[in-house]
């Protein structure tokens, strides 16, 4: 067994997910199965392999050089705030985080 209950609690904490008791046990078992399966990658010796961190090669990349840093109009603040659960234009409001 690769994953125990404490691991699941730790990961849920890192991911900011509230999980029920039932979910904790289900995910423990399922993550354990999946990671067990993923262990098969260890059959391969990859010591001299460079990780593939980019899909596109240099000659396929559009921006071999970075674009110019230009100021462009972007008058979308109202539209964006309209989607917020608790807006107070021009701000998003959240529960209090600092006690005075």
């Amino acid at each position: 067994m690769k994953i125990n209950r404490e691991d699941v609690l730790r990961v849920a904490e890192l991911a900011y997910l509230d999980l029920s008791e039932a979910e904790l046990e289900t995910y423990r078992k399922q993550l354990d199965d999946i990671l067990e399966y993923a262990g098969k990658l260890n059959e391969l010796d990859t010591t001299s392999v460079e990780p593939m961190a980019q899909v596109l090669t240099d000659d396929q990349t559009a921006d071999a050089t970075l674009r110019e840093d230009l100021v462009v109009p972007c008058a979308v603040a109202d539209d964006i705030l309209e989607q917020a659960p608790d807006p107070e234009p021009p701000y998003f409001r959240v529960p209090k985080i600092i006690e005075r």
Partner: protein
């Protein structure tokens, strides 16, 4: 029998004034009203925007102006692709009421080309799934066999096109989410190379894998839609400046003498007998067309599922961190900021999305990064090399799209690993970044469609489409 509309058919009918763009949109909405309650392919209809666009097309027709390439063509858009003013839920409760303030570039390009956007199609939540059963708004049914899944995650787009509820549709493919539903529903479905189509406005799942691509009734139409949405977009730094060929011209070229690689790793354990038989027929058809068939080896194929589910979930855990109840979407109040985050995410995400966030967070967490994520990236490099090596010997690779045909609703939901394993033939090309198409390759017992997959080298879309077109014209759908 209802008319099967194609892009050319729409164009001719409009030019001959046999139908107006408004009437055509109306006909499609009638079909949707009749069929959607059963299929659940569409989540949101955008009538106002569709009729406004149709009227613009009709004005052009009346004025005798030259029509843009997709004038009046009714198209459906997967609900993970942003549409200004039209609800975009990603199949998730957490975005139940979200209305994007801008259009994805792909959508903008389609409309600029005259397309009529009918509405948004159902999908697995945040495109995570292979059966469309992970949608918060209920599963889609396969129009070919309504007790079965349409595949996923772009199940709604595939079903809409297969049932004649759209002439074409956009889907997204991260590990097979365009090709596999295309196979299950019996329609051609394509993902271009990584970097071919702008992803600006695509709500991200796994950024090193996500791609937008078309479904249509025939390969010619797939080529046309891909043509319109391809090309550099300054708003997506991963979209390339590589020139976009005229795909419709390219697909007419003869395929005689092209070398097709058949990797034996794609025909091993776990493949359904019916699928294997249809594939033999399909491969035989390429031989009849004068293609040269070569047995090839892709030795790292068996490691693709593990690699994919490490990399995709790692990226997902990062991309989905943005759903925090602050700026958009659902908020569940808590007594502190952190408890608000936890409750919002706990209540807003469905089971599969939470599972993937958990897995992704785990493989990126301190102490496990090297063992899983870095290892995954290294094996990904080996899988990409398998493809590069193969393409030094062959022009294209032919495989089944899925080891199994459409399965029954509910049949596979209890074991996520078993569901993941069915993505075996599609995730390889996703990891390598190469283009791939699924084309119909007969039906098992005359009922369940089988998809044949063609991979080409990076930016070799024209070759992939050319082979798919020749296959289709030679009767591939009836092998």
């Amino acid at each position: 029998m209802t008319t099967i509309w194609t892009i050319d058919g729409v164009r001719e009918a409009l030019a001959a004034k046999k139908v107006s763009a408004r009437e055509l949109a109306g006909e499609f909405y009638k079909r949707i009203e009749a069929r959607n309650p059963e299929l659940n392919a569409y989540l949101t209809l955008s009538r106002e925007r569709a009729y406004a666009q149709a009227d613009r097309v009709d004005v052009m027709v009346a004025a005798g102006k030259p029509l843009p390439p997709l004038a009046g063509v009714p198209i459906a858009i997967k609900d993970v692709i942003s549409t200004r003013g039209i609800k975009t839920t990603c199949g998730s409760k957490i975005l139940e009421k979200y209305v994007p303030p801008y259009d994805a570039t792909a959508v903008e390009r389609l409309e600029k080309a005259g397309a009529v956007i009918l509405g948004k199609t159902n999908c697995d939540e945040f495109a995570m799934g292979s059966s469309n059963e992970n949608s918060a708004y209920g599963p889609v049914r396969n129009p070919e066999a309504t007790d079965r899944v349409p595949g996923g995650s772009s199940g709604g787009s595939a079903a809409a096109v297969a049932a004649g509820l759209a002439v074409a549709a956009l889907g997204t493919d991260t590990g097979g989410s365009i090709r596999q539903p295309g196979a299950f529903c019996g329609v051609p479905a394509m993902m271009g190379s990584y970097g071919r189509v702008s992803r600006y406005g695509l709500i991200a799942f796994a950024s090193s894998l996500d791609r937008i691509g078309p479904f249509a009734r025939n390969v010619k139409d797939v080529a046309k839609v891909l043509q319109i949405i391809s090309g550099r977009d300054p708003n997506d730094s991963t979209s390339t400046t590589a020139p976009v060929p005229d795909y419709r011209a390219e697909i007419e070229k003869p395929v005689k003498g092209l070398r097709i690689g058949i990797p034996k790793e794609y025909f091993g354990e776990g493949i359904d007998e019916g699928v294997r038989k249809k594939m033999e027929g399909g491969i035989g058809l390429f031989k009849k067309l004068g293609c040269e068939l070569l047995d090839i080896h892709m030795p790292h194929t068996d490691y693709a599922i593990a690699t994919y589910y490490i990399i995709a979930t790692a990226e997902a855990s990062s991309n989905l961190a943005r759903y925090d109840g602050v700026r958009y979407g659902l908020r569940v109040e808590g007594d502190s900021l952190l408890s608000m985050y936890r409750k919002t995410r706990g209540a807003g995400f469905g089971a599969e999305v939470k599972r993937r966030i958990m897995l992704g967070t785990y493989v990126l967490s301190a102490g496990y990064y090297d063992a899983y994520y870095l290892k995954g990236q290294k094996v990904r490099a080996l899988i990409a090399k398998d493809f590069r090596d193969a393409f030094t010997k062959v022009d294209a690779i032919v495989t089944p799209t899925s080891p199994v045909p459409a399965f029954r609703l509910g049949e596979r939901t209890s074991d996520p690993l078993q569901m993941y394993l069915a993505d075996i033939y599609t995730v390889t090309g996703s990891l390598a970044g190469v283009p791939g198409i699924s084309v119909p390759c007969g039906k098992i017992c005359g009922k369940l469609p089988v998809g044949l997959q063609i991979f080409g080298p990076a930016f070799g879309e024209a070759r992939v489409l050319q082979l798919a077109h020749a296959f289709e014209r030679a009767g591939g759908a009836d092998v």
